[in-house]
Amino acid sequence: MITNYFKIGFRILIRQRSYTVLNILGLSIGIAVFVFIYLYVQSEIRYDRYWSDSKNIYRVWNEYSLEGKVEKVAISPFRLAGTLKKNFPEVVEATKLFFTDPSDVNDMSSLTYNGKVYEVPNITLSDSGLFRIFNYNFFEGDPRTALSKPNSMVISAKVARQLFGNEKAVGKKLKTVRREYTVTGVFDKNTCPTHLDFDAVVSEYSLSPKSLQKMNSDWFWLGVYTYVKLADTVSPESFEKRANDFISKQISAFIDSANINIDGYMVYSLEPVRSIHFNTSLAYDSPSNTNSGYLIIFSIIAGFILLTASINYINLAMARSLKRAKEVGMRKVLGAFRKQLAMQYISEAFIVVFIAFILALSLVELLMPWFNALVGKNLTLVGNLFSRQGIVFGLLLIFMMIILAVVSGIFPAFILSRYNPANVLKGNNFFININGKRGISAGGIRKVLVVIQYVVSIGMIIATMIIFSQMKFLKNYDPGFDEKNIIVINTPDDTAYYQQADEFKIELKAIPGVIGVSTANNAPGYTYGKSLFHAGDTSDKALQTLSLYIVDTGFFNVLKIPLVEGKFFDSKMETDTGHYYIINQAAAKDLDLDEPVGSRLEVSFFEKTNGRIVGVVKDFNFYSLHTGIEPLVFLLYPKESRYILVRLDEKHKNVAIAEINKVWDKYNKGHFMHYTFLKDKIQSLYGADLKMLSVFIYFTLFVMFISSLGLYGLSSFLIEQRTKEIAIRKVLGGSDRRIILLLIKDYFRLVIIAGLLASPVVYYLMNKWLNTFSAHISINGWYFVAGILLMMALAFLSVVIRSFHVLRQNPALALKYE
């Protein structure tokens, strides 16, 4: 029986080739997109799940408040890990990892081996607990002891290859400007998807005893991530409470001894390592963290694309049912039960779905490099099928195949098997469209399904247009300073540099094509850390936490930030012993200063630095538009710099950069010159948004393609059905244009209904997204009109291509057979 179903199914599919091709094409694209998204979502939720006992691993994050202002940060004090390990037996293991920004280059990024300087993207500092908690695969060395000795360094396999080729890495000596390290291990960075991102780690004992002692005594210096692994039986909540009780006593003692007066609190919380990837609420967290909302959106879209494809199948199968009415009627007369008829249709659907799956998986394999580039991942289909989760994935595919076949097959089976054979066999088919009073007609279901497809397509078209406009808006948005033609060079953390920094700067300025040079510890797009400020003349005045830029006199000139009040820093202030501040308008408001110029300000930076405000600059966006304009304080202190900002002449950019490189090499032997265009850095803050945009663009194209494909197929069947009607209209003198209008009218009505259904949903969701930006476009009616019109144009094309064929036919041919 089953073989019979399949045999006949095959013959029918081969006989109706164009129909089959249409169906398989649509379905396989739908399935391919689904598989892509599945693999993507899968890799996202697998973040940090590989670690042994990962459910017992937590990161300690920190909420602190000063003067009612609350900050939640992923970072914590250096001494926290040690304190917890020492005082709580339930802490099996604890470790700290220096906070670094992987998109930035920190002070140890240049390594010298055999006299050659190499650039290593991300070097951090930790202790021997790191590889005990995070069981990275090691190619060389012992993970348990690799970081226990001073001046030991563990490098990633990629760095090992870059530096040593195929030679053994352990035991090799690597030099930074300050000291020499010995490689003690090589780890596999791709052990598992993780929020951790480093290419080399050095042992904490590589720090000088003096700085180690200083950091181990401070509770307010937040600069590391702290991870703990708890014993199996410990409840994280109760541990959290006990730890906070213990630490707050320590902090009180520290405050008393340091004689600081602070009104606020500091609370530590545990966060399961597995959920870090989906937490975007903490400051100073891994930039790879993502909003799980995106995953949900992507999954929903994947479902929609699959739905669109199976609706095609259902609609085509139902439209085609006319052609098969005779067959169905005959089968019924010969004694087939409805179940048997349904099985026939499901078998056919199964064949189509099966072929579509094979095609889809081939497509996925073929397009994988492209998809990986799009989402910035390293996924493989085969790798996934044969991994530990492969069985789940395989079962899911089979399950999906069955569901798709049953869902796609059952509708037509249901409709077709309901026909009264007495009518069908006589050859009068009109009843199929009317279908009496017995519930919904095939035509009705078809319309509902087409509307669903249109809702998805129109919704995605409108959403894509809005996202696109917002991204364009961001690109052209004036942040309040001139971000173009500026490169940001990371200064080497090398005392030798600071001794010659002034000369270096002078020589840079002399390069043709260089318009201005400034040094600073922060720059727009790079802003880290906040500092405690006292404002006003009395020492009991409120403490505030504000962002601090430590800059030289050239900063405002290079970035072209306009002054509102007072004056800029000048070279006289640079050399005198006092301290000078400039603040932005937001800071003036925040510090509650009516006459900011001349007011006193004090910051706890190194030591208490008390000075005067000399000017107020206009507000500018120093981070992405996801955050609004925040208060900002500038302190003139040219000796402190992390970055060198160079404004270049647009026309001579490349020549100038080459020259800067030459000057760099002269002054900074052993350091790689790493630079970024400020504009690129700021754009990179919108990475997740841009990713969403590109994914949306592709998904929208797929949905539009699949639904047009379906509409094309559907309209060809329906027009075929109406061949006689068209012929009669032509004989009676109907013009081609009027007849086409007649054919298209119904679809237009469906498009408009779908547009009306989609619009409020899209409006709501897009508004929600736009509100994550402090400046954004406003959604106006044109997006919706344009989306609906675009869909109408697509519908028009799909229908008209078929209509011309029928219209060109001689009406006599169509009428002859009646």
Partner: protein, 227 residues
């Protein structure tokens, strides 16, 4: 075998009612060969569909092999039909996607026959109908007469007690038409009851009796052998 008592059939399309059959009572005994004649639209096919259990009367009673049809469920009717009735149509109604052999086999599949016995039975019928050399062809590769032979073979393969034929020669030339009528005649001689709708006097002459329908009513009944 067949007894109908005052059956009535009304078709409704919107507000328009068409009465297809009014008060039709007839009896067909086992082994009979009945021809139903009448002009287009007189209700011949409707009557045949009701007799074949693929349509239902609006009023009146129909007894088939002693079963009161109005009391049967769809499933019971389907069972009764597939076990006892074979159909032959004017337009053959063969399934284009199936070969000759598979078309003939289909009723047996729905009857749940085992594969081996199915093959054997189909072979017998194919030989009897002299279509062995065409058994692997598809319907569209056959002439009209050949297609109707296949349709007859399909109708009789399950050895039904009753064959309902709806203008079996309507789409055939006279030579092929005669062949098909001879087939039916032979089947009747072997004991199969036949009810046939036809326009053709010549075809009707094969039957034992002729029922004339006009506007949904039986206007007269002739015993053919006496004519």
């Amino acid at each position: 075998m067949i007894v109908t008592e005052g059956i009535k059939k009304i078709f409704q399309a919107g507000d328009v009612e068409t009465i297809a059959l009014r008060n039709v009572s007839l009896t067909v005994e086992t082994g009979d060969f009945v021809a139903v004649m009448g002009p287009s639209g007189c209700g011949k096919t409707t009557l045949l569909n009701i007799l074949g259990l693929i349509d239902q009367a609006n009023a009146g009673e129909y007894y088939f092999l002693g079963h009161q049809v109005s009391r049967l469920s769809d499933k019971q009717k389907a069972k009764l039909r597939k076990e006892n009735i074979g159909f032959v149509f004017q337009n053959f109604n063969l399934i284009d996607e199936l070969t000759v052999h598979e078309n003939i086999e289909l009723p047996l599949i729905y009857l749940g026959w085992k594969k081996k016995s199915r093959k054997q039975r189909v072979r017998e019928i194919i030989e009897k109908m002299e279509i062995s050399h065409r058994k692997n062809l598809f319907p569209l590769q056959l002439s009209g007469g050949q297609q109707q032979r296949v349709a007859v073979a399909r109708a009789v393969v399950a050895n039904p007690a009753l064959i309902l034929a709806d203008e079996p020669t309507g789409n055939l030339d006279s030579m092929h038409g005669e062949e098909v009528m001879n087939l039916l005649n032979d089947l009747n001689k072997e004991g199969t009851t036949i009810v046939m709708v036809t326009h053709s006097r010549r075809d009707a002459s094969y039957s034992h009796r002729i029922i004339n329908l006009f506007d949904g009513q039986i206007i007269n009944e002739n015993l053919n052998k006496l004519m």
